[in-house]
Each structure stands twice: as C-alpha cells, then as structure tokens.
C-alpha cells in the first residue's frame, strides 16, 4: 500500500498553502489565523509521524532503565514496598513489549518494498526465460497473494468511495485481526 499518510499530508498542506489560504477573504482574520494554524499543525504531524514509533520506543527504554534504578534504590515501609513491586512488575511487562518492537515501521515498509521488487523481478524473468512448467505455480502464487493483499488495500481506502459494492469489502480492522490470529 503506497497511499500513505506522508504523501497525503504533503499534498493537503500544499493545497491549503498555495490555493486555499490565498483565496480567503483578507478581512476574515479568524479564518486566516485558523487556516495558518491548520497548516502548521499538519506540518508538525508530517514531521512527527515518521519518528513517532522510534520516539515512543526510545522513551520506553529510558523509562525502563530509570525504573530499574528506582526499584534498586527504593527502601521503606509497606507503601514503598508495594510501589516497588508494582513498578517492578510494570518494568518486566514494558521490557518484554520493547523486546518485541525491534523493527521500526520504516524498516518494515522498506522490507515490503524490497520484497515487492524482488518478487516482481522473478515474475518477469520466469516469463522471459524460465521453464514453462513452473509458470502455472508462479501465476497461482501471485494471484493468491494479490487477492488477499488487494482486499486489505481496498478496505484501507474504502471511505474514498471507489468500490462498486462497498459492503463486499470487510472493515480493515477485522481483516488485520484475522491475519494476526
């Protein structure tokens, strides 16, 4: 799926800056101010989006390290001991969460692209100089993968209104849940 927030935000900011804002009545100060603030917030969002996941992981790692330090240092009565136990438990959970979040979204996206390119090249080469007998298997694999992936791509963009029968496309959350099971 290449219709991603990054390019959508960039296009919206450009439309607002180049076309919409200059067309606002110069006497409508409130509209001009809110137009500029909208562009500013969208620009901030565009800047934050690629870094948000790594930012959160970085913060979580720092909190885990600090929590370990806090647990080691804290001594006291019942209340303190209970708080230490709770923080210890939370730290264990946070640590295992961080351990499973090793690949960033950008890395996953890059791997998607790489897999698409190399798979596409194999298809081209098989139809150029591959053995004729293997083409049916290649065809079936590509068509089967395309069917499942396109269902998710279409569901992701359902609200745009391009689908001839929108009810035939399940919600993206249920499709992703089904894949995860």
């Amino acid at each position: 799926m290449q219709m991603r927030p990054q390019i959508q935000l960039q296009a919206v900011i450009k439309a607002l800056s180049d076309v919409v804002l200059p067309a606002i009545d110069p006497n409508n100060k409130l509209a001009i101010e809110q137009g500029k603030l909208s562009i500013g917030l969208l620009a901030l969002l565009a800047q934050q989006l690629p870094n948000q996941f790594r930012f959160d992981c970085d913060e979580l790692a720092r909190l885990i390290a600090t929590a370990r330090e806090l647990v080691a240092q804290a001594k006291g009565g019942e209340g303190t001991q209970a708080a230490v136990a709770a923080l210890y438990e939370a730290t264990q959970l946070a640590g295992s969460t961080l351990d499973t979040a090793q690949a960033s979204p950008a890395e996953v996206e890059a791997m998607v692209r790489a897999m698409r390119v190399t798979s596409g090249q194999l298809v081209t080469e098989v139809y150029r100089d591959g053995e004729a007998g293997c083409r049916a298997g290649i065809r079936d694999a590509v068509l089967a993968m395309s069917k499942e992936q396109l269902l998710r791509d279409r569901s992701m963009l359902l609200m745009q209104g391009w689908e001839p029968d929108p009810k035939a496309v399940p919600p993206i959350a249920s499709l992703l849940d089904a894949s995860a099971r």
Binding site: M3, A11, K14, D18, V19, S119, V123
Partner: protein, 398 residues
Amino acid sequence: MAVVDKNRPSPEWIEHLRKRYPCEQEIDRVLTRKLERRAGPPYAPVSLDTLQAGTEALLRTQLTEPFTITDTRWLSGGASKLQMAFVLHWNQPGVGRSSTPLVLRMEPSEAITETSRLREFQIIKAMEGKVPVPPTYWIDAYGEYLPYPAIVYGFAEGVTKPSKSTSTVSGVGTSIPPEIRETLGQQFVDHLVTTHTFDWQQADIGAYDRPAAGTEALEWALNHWERVWEEDSHEDVPLMRLTMAWLRRNMPPVDHISMVHGDYRLGNFLYTEHDLRISAWLDWELAYLGDRHEDLSWSAKRQFGQMAEDGKTFLVAGCLPIEEYLARYERASGLKVDPERMRYYDIFNNYKCLAIVLATGYRAPFNGKTHQDVLVAWLSGISYPLLEELRTQMAEVL
C-alpha cells in the same frame, strides 16, 4: 540489487530506460525531459498575471496588430493540466476586430499524464471540422514564453455532466438521466466512428510516428506504459509484472490502424444542455495511431458509465447498453468489433490506467510537481479497485 533513486534519476538510468523501452520519438522526448527535470524544483504556484504576460509574449510573436487580453480566470476540471480562460480583443484574420473567448492549456512541472503539447495541438487541429473540437490557435511547444509548454485554443461552451448531476473527480461516477441518453449516446458513437475512420495518412501530424501493420503500434504502446511504470512507480506490484508478461506474449496484430483518442469517455466531452449537442471533444493528449479496440474498451469501463434503472444493464458513458453501443459502432464504421481484442484491450487499459494513477499518481505529488497534488493523490486511491479488476481478468486469461 542496485537501488535507483527515481527522484534524482541518473543520466545512465535514463539512457537505460530509453534503450529498453523504445517508443514513439515525441513520447520519448517528453518522458526523457520529465526525468531530466525531476530533481529540479517543485511546481511553484503561477498567478493569472504571469500566465497573461506569458500569453501576451507568445501572441506578440504571432500577431502583427495590437491586441489586448481581458477577463482572465481559472478553469477547473481535469487532473493533469492548468487551464486559464480569457478574452482576446484582436484583429482576427478574415473577421476583423473581434473579442474571442480562448483557453490557455498549460502543463505543470510534471503531470499525472506526461504528454506532448505538440501532439495535442496537431491532432486537435487535424480533427477540426470532423468531430467537434475547440479551434486551435497557437502553441508554445517548449515553454519559451510561458512557464511550461502550452497551447491556446477556443473556449467551447457546454458542460461535462448535467448541471444537476453529481460525480467524483475527473468525471468518474457521473449520472446521465434517461431523457438525454439516446441523443448523447448516438453522437458518442458517431464521433468515435469518425475518429477511427479519419484518414490520418493525409493529416499534418508530424509528431506522430506512423506504425507498420502488425504489432508495431502495440509494441510502442506497451513500451510507453511499461517505461512510465518503471520511471514513476514507488512500490513494485508483482501482478503488474505478470500482466505485462501476458500482454507481450499475446499481442494481437492490428487490422486497421486508427487514430485512437486514448481517453474517449464520459467527462471528456462538452455538450450544450439546451440542444444536447456535443460541442467539443477534449483531452486528446493520449492520442496515438493504433487499434480502435483501445477506445472501445476504455469508453466502456465501469468507472465511466452507470447502471440503468433495472439495476442490471450497464450503460456505456451512461447512455447505451454495451451490446447496442458496439452494434451501432460496427454498423456505422464498417469495422468489426473483435471480442478477443476487446478483452486484450480491457487488460491493456487497466495496465495503462494503473501506470498513470498508481505510479505517476504517486511520483508527481511526492515531488510536489503538479498544481493540484491533493487531487492527484486522492485519485491514486482508485488504483486498488482497478488492481482487483486486473487480478480477476488475469485469473481468467492465464
């Protein structure tokens, strides 16, 4: 695997693509120019004053007597070119002092369809008097006077859809009411027949390479659209690779080389509502010499038609059932409609459309190259239902 930076294409990569995908000379020129300019600045907003000044500079090279331009305004519609309407007050040859409503049609820095203004100018001029087209006046083929290449043609009165109708962008989803379907539908057929039987051999269309009989025209077209896919796509799509392999292995030879409009559909003609006459066919930029089945298939796409009130009958261009449409075409043209070639061009057209909306529809706004990136980015969402259609088609033919 060498990684190509498509946003900063190297001269070696450009040359590699040119050699690998030989196509018509003028198409090669505009695609090469697109890549050579890609690393340059994004599209910068152009004011009406700038366009007026550029148009005046162009006209000063064409007109010997004084003239003035007034009433400049933007025209909307279409996803690929900028259009400014204006009135030219001039001494029109053979007419005298006149006030002529005109349109400046100019490219942005990169368009969702990268095409030649020279070809567009030549074909519209060649079709004058044959099918309704705006009269052509002047061309700035290489952007010498205006910020980018442009043509000037007459302003045609009319609407692309009924005033009370709704549609999504670029004419997709337009609804045509029953009472006007027959009148518009018959003209829709007649003009396509005229275009396909037009004697292009005698026409002044030097920017078009003339293909030999057989598959040469189709090979050029496949090379053109695969080159666009290579140049512009962000994510590869194995289904597109499978499709291109099939298209190349199953090329049908053309039995009659026609002038193909390339985007013949509802939304690309104007008609006047008071008399229901088609007043102008627009968007000739994708025209080429090839197989009529491309236009027949394209015009009958689901996205450019609607279902009749019975909920079962698909109406081409919202006007005619497809069987009726093709039967009328055959009767009027004397040219056969071959179901096998219709199916081939159904697949070809989906590939071509995906090269435009999925590949260029990503690359152009990514680099901020158009005057309406937001529209182009929105339009690229149609790629996924189109890919699903293509997947179904490929499952049937493979």
